[in-house]
């Protein structure tokens, strides 16, 4: 990594004009381009530096860490640790709790992502066409959960889901159903968190879908309507193909978000009961907390690899269609 001053003075003389361009205006253009390039470099340096120091270096360091037996007690001499190869990765696979956390995360993604996208798209469609006057109110209403602090959300949801006098079970009681202890029962805890996460996140995809929908060419709709296409047919054959890039974007970002599922179990259930809600990233966090940096690093990279595969698969899928 060069220092700012070094790279700023690295090219004292701009590169000479290429062969066959010896005319004066061309040379001046060359000067100008070089000066612009230099200015650009200089302007991007703070970002490059910050990126290198705070992102690239830690990423490399944690990758190195995942192949060593580093513990918290090694923290002051990170290069004195022993190289253990893939041991940490094997240990992660052999850890029953980590396997459980991977399954939980998978369930969360497989149920949560489609629900979030469907809800987001449905809300966006409704708002795109719906009653004009209340549109703003609904947009704000649906988006509010996204910007609300998870801790505030957690307090309210815990109250709603309380087994004895929570609102959910009270309402169920009116129709004669004895509601479960949503967060305390291992059969319903993960489901409860998924519902909460969908409620909290569909606003984000809604906003993006809204923008995508507004870019759909209305003439196509009109033409299809003239040809006698029903609303459903127009949605399938006009709207959906037109918003495919938006769809891909929402799918990828939502999946990544759900694969990193952390806050909901962290504040609501601490991974319990009986590990029913522990997620891969939460378990990784716990390992960091215990000072097992090597194992935690390996777990983080396993998550990273899965995210990479899922994202690539989605790009493939959307391109082939």
């Amino acid at each position: 990594m060069t220092t700012p001053s070094a790279s700023a003075t690295a090219s004292p003389s701009p590169p000479g004009p290429g062969p066959g361009s010896s005319s004066a205006p061309a040379r001046r253009r060359g000067h100008r381009a070089a000066a612009e390039a230099r200015a650009g470099l200089l302007l991007s340096l703070p970002f490059v530096l910050l990126f290198a120091v705070f992102i690239a270096w830690p990423v490399l360091q944690s990758m190195f860490m995942s192949f060593t037996d580093m513990r918290i007690s090694d923290i002051r001499s990170p290069f004195a640790v022993d190289f253990v190869g893939l041991d940490n990765y094997i240990a992660a696979f052999e850890d029953p709790v980590f396997r459980r956390s991977a399954v939980n995360t998978g369930v969360f993604v497989l149920i949560g992502v489609p629900l979030t996208i469907t809800a987001g798209l449905a809300a966006a469609l409704a708002l795109d066409r719906g009653v004009t006057r209340l549109r703003g109110v609904f947009r704000v209403g649906f988006y509010t959960p996204v910007v609300t602090s998870i801790v505030a959300v957690a307090v309210v949801w815990r109250f709603l889901l309380r087994p004895d006098n929570g609102l959910v079970n009270t309402v169920l009681g009116w129709v004669g159903i004895d509601g479960p202890n949503w967060l305390g029962d291992e059969r319903t805890a993960l489901l409860s968190l998924i519902v909460m996460a969908v409620w909290r996140n569909f606003g984000t995809s809604m906003v993006i879908f809204l923008a995508g929908l507004q870019a759909v060419d209305q003439q196509l709709h009109e033409a299809a309507a003239l040809d006698g296409a029903s609303a459903w047919q127009r949605f399938l054959n006009v709207t959906l193909p037109s918003i495919r890039p938006t769809m891909l974007f929402v799918m990828v970002t939502t999946s990544i978000g759900y694969l990193q599922f952390f806050e909901e179990p962290f504040v609501m259930t601490q991974g319990g009961p009986l590990h029913a809600t522990i997620s891969a990233s939460m378990y990784t966090y716990n390992q960091f907390g215990f000072g097992n940096y090597g194992v935690a690093g390996a777990m983080a990279y396993l998550t990273f690899i899965v995210i990479g595969i899922v994202t690539l698969a989605q790009f493939r899928l959307m391109r082939e269609k």
Binding site: N181, E186, Q270, P273, G289, G291
Partner: protein, 366 residues
Amino acid sequence: MPELLKGFEKDNPDVTVEVTPIPWDSAHDKFTSAIAAGTAPDVAQVGSTWMAEFVSLDALEPTPENIATDDYFPGALESVTVEETVYGVPWYVETRVVFYRKDIAEEVGITEPPTDWEGLFEMARAMQGGPEGEWGIALQPGGDGSWQTVLPLFWSNGGDVVTEAGDEFTFASAENEEALAYYQSYFTEGVSDPAPPEGATEQDFVSGAVPMFISGPWMMAAVESVGGEGFADKYGVFVMPEKETSASFLGGANIGVFQGSQNRDAAWKLIEHLSRPEVQVAWFEQVGDLPALQSAWEDEAVASNEKFEVFHTQLGNAFAPPTIATWEQVAAKLDAQIEQVCKQDLDPAAALESVQSDAQGIGTGA
């Protein structure tokens, strides 16, 4: 805290003390990163379960000879002792006792608090039949921190989780198994709720739905604020029931000096000041944390409340968790097994075997 420092600053005009409050939740992470970066403070309040970890990081200074350590509660002194060396001093302590509703107990004909394991179980069962009584006693069915209730039962039965020297785990023993089976019986017999709602202990205690629980001194203020005027007379506390002994969990915080401190001498002087009985009593009056010094308990402010007297008795028989660097990690494994014992009827012996092998895999960090 600044109040307590006035006397110290008067005696030591050349020393300025800067106090930085840190929320307890983030304190552990803050300290470890500060230790790694070499920017730890001179003096700090250290959670009693972090001592061994910080010592293993070479972060704490041993306590110098001139600071007396003979007047602390034995369990508290144990919590600052790592491999026979004392680091820092205890600052405040807390221990757990049994809270019960006096009025409900009287209605079901119990006038004397029980003294042994069977008695506690019978009382919980009897109270369950009382008015409004849904459950007998609130016990944590596993999960974060449930080891704090279970470990005392091990101790009470003569068991322990590490050897005397602290270098080997001893989870799988007949004493521990019996204690865990006893804990399990509260759930299998339907006396305790295996899936209690979170944070409802105070309300359920005041309403009578769950008329007993085991907890620390901070719950006094908590239940009295929910219960309102006069509630203080409606409930009582008693020491943990005996099997071989009456044992309880000892928690709290210690104060220590970090290695590499630029102001070593002043730092120890400050600790000496803070560990005077009158300063400990002043701290108790301010925030209600129980003094770690036995002599501080002779003060009227502490001795006048008979409930504190129960805590005082219990403190004589309260123990700190093992001071090993990996304790938090081992405890998490124990918590997970306790949960299976309480909720899924896992055999206590199998659970302890599992913790034992997990713990051996983790090691003591020594």
